[in-house]
């Protein structure tokens, strides 16, 4: 069995090229970069329009189950509110040249803005993929088929005999939709074409093939789009520094990507002054968000934290202004209650220095945002990291909150938010409850999207604004860019593209295994 790089694919790309000479489908994989001129003002306007769209996609995805009716409704409503989104959700805009140009150009501008770090790339890909999926599913069956054909992703349905033979398994794999197995066509495709169905275990697999229902063929499209996008972003990243000079673009692009990340909490000089190891315990009770309190407590209790927890907590501490020396002291003191110093120095100090950019690739790692904590690397057995509002059983959370003397009303309010998936809002309510904010005016200003932001807000509130507390944003280095020609020639599309989005984080994780 070997279908990676089969000959069929080269046939595909040959055919793919032709299609760009025509108007083509309403949807596209954005393979050919735009050419022509665009004013700086338009450039920014397009970018912001698309950013609003992607934000709307993100919001719907955080709050609601992707693919649910509520999600679709919400996304539709949110997109209607933006000017580009309004057109993007329509299926009859195929001939509208202006719209198509705007769709294409805005996508490419954001590619430039969001290719520069792993986190940005991941965010951009996620939202573009969700947007694409949403748009694809709005198309009628004929139009979907046409898209598959145009992109040479069409397959022959399996025979009725085979379907009868596999009936039980197809049903069991279809989950709650098992009722529709009878009426629907199935296609036999290599499992490498439908990774998102595989990862959710939503498809029947046998001997390397996935049996995909017509409804799920979107998965093939998404797999291809993801792989194309990931590769293109990697290529764009590499091309970025070599691009021609235009001093005005890059600051703008950096500004754009910041709009998602918000403040970069990778503070070298702390926002609240130096924090020493001894101060952490007290601060943790007063000003740490629940996720960090929990890591702190379990570290104190077990004198150990697993890798995920060390990363999440370690970078947070760095972000609030704990220096490398103090961090080392803090971790060593705690860990060495249960292991000898020698072992600690061997196994863990590298990790800490690494987070401060003193080892490995010497990247100065950024503290994790709520988004990152909530959506990536979920905790497993033995882990205490993650966001308690998302990863803690609701009963356990309520119990914990009551233990902190939070009023019954507030506990209920928070639990309700949690149950509807509004984790960050729950966190904001927790902030209010623990900082005695009753004034609705104040409460409107509380918006939690970063544990370090939580800390700063709390610290300021409890200590009053200090001099020099204004955060110093990292000024981006100016690199010069020209928009044209930064895309990928479609013939180069390579399945392996996202292989290299690894940092040596994983390497370190591997170093502590079984030694």
């Amino acid at each position: 069995m070997d279908f990676a790089g089969n000959s069929k694919k080269s046939g595909r790309s040959a055919r793919n090229k032709k299609q760009f000479n025509r108007v083509g489908h309403n949807l596209q994989f954005y393979k050919i970069p735009p050419t022509g001129e665009i004013s700086l003002q338009e450039f920014e306007e397009y970018a912001i329009d698309r950013l609003k769209v992607l934000k709307a996609v993100e919001v719907a995805g955080i709050r609601l189950m992707k693919g649910s009716t509520e999600y679709i409704q919400k996304l539709q409503d949110e997109l209607r509110k933006t000017s580009l989104g309004h057109d993007l959700i329509r299926t009859d805009k195929k001939e509208d040249k202006d719209f198509r140009q705007k769709d294409l150009v805005s996508h490419f501008i954001l590619r430039l803005a969001y290719c520069r770090s792993e986190e940005l790339r991941r965010w951009f890909m996620q939202q573009e993929l969700d947007l694409f999926r949403f748009r694809f599913l709005r198309e009628g069956p004929d139009s979907r088929d046409e898209f598959l054909r145009e992109n040479s992703l069409n397959y022959e349905p399996i025979s009725d005999d085979l379907k009868t033979e596999l009936d039980g398994d197809l049903r069991a794999a279809a989950g709650s939709k098992s009722g529709v197995v009878d009426t629907i066509e199935y296609f036999k495709v290599p499992f490498t074409e439908v990774f998102d169905l595989v990862s959710k275990r939503k498809v029947y697999l046998e001997d390397g093939y996935a049996y995909v229902s017509r409804d799920d063929m979107i998965s093939i499209v998404i797999t291809h789009y993801r792989s194309h996008l990931s590769h293109s972003l990697a290529v764009t990243t590499r091309a970025l520094p070599h691009l021609e000079e235009d001093g005005r673009l890059l600051p703008m692009l950096c500004g754009l990507s910041k709009r998602y990340l918000g403040q970069d909490f990778n503070a070298k000089k702390s926002n609240v002054g130096e924090i020493t190891a001894d101060m952490i315990e007290t601060l943790s009770k007063k000003s740490f968000p629940l996720c960090m309190q929990q890591l702190h407590q379990s570290l104190r209790q077990n004198h150990h934290l697993r890798h995920g927890g060390r990363q999440q907590y370690g970078l947070f501490l760095k972000g609030i202004g704990v220096s490398l020396e103090e961090a080392m002291r803090f971790w060593r003191t705690e860990f060495c209650k249960a292991m000898d110093v020698d072992k600690f120095d061997k196994q863990y100090s590298y990790n800490i220095r690494h987070n401060y950019g003193k080892e490995g690739k010497r990247t100065n790692y950024t503290p994790y945002s709520c988004m990152k904590i909530i959506t990536t690397n979920p905790p497993g057995p033995g882990d205490f990291h993650g966001c308690p509002f998302k990863h803690m059983e609701v009963d356990m959370l309520a119990q914990k909150l009551r233990g902190q003397h939070i009023s019954k009303d507030n506990v209920e309010k928070i639990s309700k938010c949690v149950k509807t998936g509004h984790y960050q809002i729950a966190c904001a309510q927790y902030f209010e409850a623990t900082h005695n904010i009753r004034n609705p005016e104040d409460s409107a200003s509380i918006n939690i999207n970063h544990p370090n932001g939580y800390f700063l807000d709390s610290y300021k509130l409890l200590n009053g604004p200090k001099e020099g507390t204004k955060p110093v944003p990292n000024t981006p280095k100016v690199i010069k860019v020209k928009v044209e020609g930064t895309g990928t020639p479609s013939s180069q599309t390579n399945k392996q593209s996202d292989l290299n989005d690894m940092d040596d984080d994983d390497l370190i994780a591997s170093m502590e295994t079984d030694m």
Partner: protein, 426 residues
């Protein structure tokens, strides 16, 4: 513990003296190099004082042999094949130096089961918890073969507390990070951190792959959970076994704290739906009987709890993969045939079709096999020289390795034939 009653007590201090002999006379360079033959991938060495050398690569077996013998690494890791020779990584731009392919790997480590084994914790293993690894191999091996169609799976004991699997099919080696994550996710069922006590939630109907895993588990669950772990036993019986391991580990409420040392309560707490069935605890006096009673009850219960029994079983014994190890194309993994510096045991292959005959406590230690070298004849009956490793208890492991290798090589040959056939057609 049975593992320690061996004649050869391994002494970690002797490792520096033993390794040169091991690498000179016993390390199976021939088959090893053949296995990794497809292309100049990365090796990294960890030397005696934790000196760590990455990005080694070797163009032929002699070079590999020479370097290993020279360095005598405490640990060898295998990484990816890159766009450039790993040795040259400093001469190319970082962005251009990219991982291209690597085996799809799985790492299953006993430390990830600490909340469901009551005999030991951390890096320790014993015959009471080893069945977890047997079940893991059975389930993952089946899924990779039958569901994903992979044929070349190489299972290895990590030398101490876990197992590794190397999937060597070409499709697997060429998988992207997304593809690797997808497979690892497909195989992951036990989810949630320490703040999530019930970690398995099944949807109806049960996916065929999980169904098959449950069938495998059903054959072994009682023997493992009830007989070996006494997982529904009570405090008195358990005291000996797990001592202090639960102290402070579970964020349970205060009112329930006094029940922490009680397996039965732990199980029920994790599965709140079972809580009301506490009476079986008093009526029956063994884990086995209590389990049967609970199962019987769960068959009678509500639709919403209809998979409770399956969920309990899965939470206790379903394989817990380290997803991060599988995900990265350039994630390094400890090589087979290393010697674990702490235990002295060789990381030997495991035959997945014979897992019950594999006993981690009988895996030869470096000191034992070197001893064997000195005490056995070096010629066979016909006077032919016997390969060194064949004289030792490594011989059995080598048979497993050769068997795996033969089928892998045949597939390469088959592929070459196919390619040349294609050329002939034109």
């Amino acid at each position: 513990m049975p593992g320690e009653e061996k004649e050869h007590v391994y002494d970690a201090a002797s490792l520096p003296d033993l390794l040169p002999i091991y690498y000179k006379r016993l390390f199976p360079y021939g088959p090893y190099f053949k296995w990794l033959n497809y292309g100049g991938g990365e090796f990294s060495f960890t030397l005696k004082d934790d000196v760590y050398i990455r990005y080694q690569s070797f163009s032929d077996q002699q070079e590999l042999e020479k370097e290993i013998q020279k360095r005598c690494p405490y640990k060898i890791d295998i990484g990816a094949v890159f766009t450039h020779r790993p040795k040259d990584h400093k001469t190319v731009k970082p962005a251009a130096f990219q991982a291209q392919e690597k085996e799809l790997v799985f790492d299953i480590d006993m430390t990830d089961y600490d909340d469901v084994r009551f005999c030991c914790s951390g890096a320790d293993i014993c015959p009471k918890c080893w069945p977890l690894m047997q079940i893991a191999i059975k389930i993952v091996n089946r899924a990779l073969r039958e569901d994903f169609g992979f044929k070349h799976l190489f299972w290895v004991y990590s030398g101490r507390r876990g197992i590794h699997c190397w999937v060597c099919d070409e499709t697997a080696r060429k998988l992207s990070q997304t593809g690797r994550s997808a497979i690892a996710e497909y195989l992951s069922i036990v989810k949630g951190g320490e703040n999530q006590s019930k970690k398995v939630a099944l949807e109806s109907p049960i996916h065929p792959s999980i169904r098959k895993a449950i069938e495998i588990i059903e054959q072994r669950f009682v023997s493992y959970a009830a007989d070996k772990q006494d997982f529904l036993g009570d405090e008195e019986k358990q005291k000996k076994g797990h001592g202090s391991m639960y102290r402070g580990r579970y964020p349970l409420s205060n009112s329930l704290k006094h029940e922490k040392n009680n397996n039965f309560s732990l199980t029920l707490l994790r599965f709140k739906d079972m809580w009301e069935r506490k009476d079986v605890f008093n009526r029956f006096d063994s884990s086995n009987k209590r389990w049967q009673a609970l199962c019987k009850k769960s068959e009678e219960t509500l639709e919403s709890q209809k998979y409770l029994k399956e969920e309990v079983m899965l939470q206790y014994v379903y394989p817990r993969l380290d997803v991060n190890v599988s995900k990265g194309v350039n994630h390094l993994l400890k090589s087979p045939f290393c010697v674990h510096p702490k235990t002295g045991r060789v990381c030997v292959p495991i035959d997945p079709d014979n897992i019950d005959s594999f006993d981690p406590f009988k895996v030869p230690t470096i000191s034992a096999i070197i001893e064997e070298l000195n005490t056995t004849e070096s010629k066979d009956e016909d006077g032919k020289k016997i390969k060194d490793y064949k004289k030792t208890s490594l011989a059995g492991s080598m048979v497993v390795f050769e068997k795996f290798l033969t089928s892998l090589e045949n597939s390469w040959k088959g592929k070459k034939l196919e390619e040349s056939d294609k050329k002939m057609e034109f």
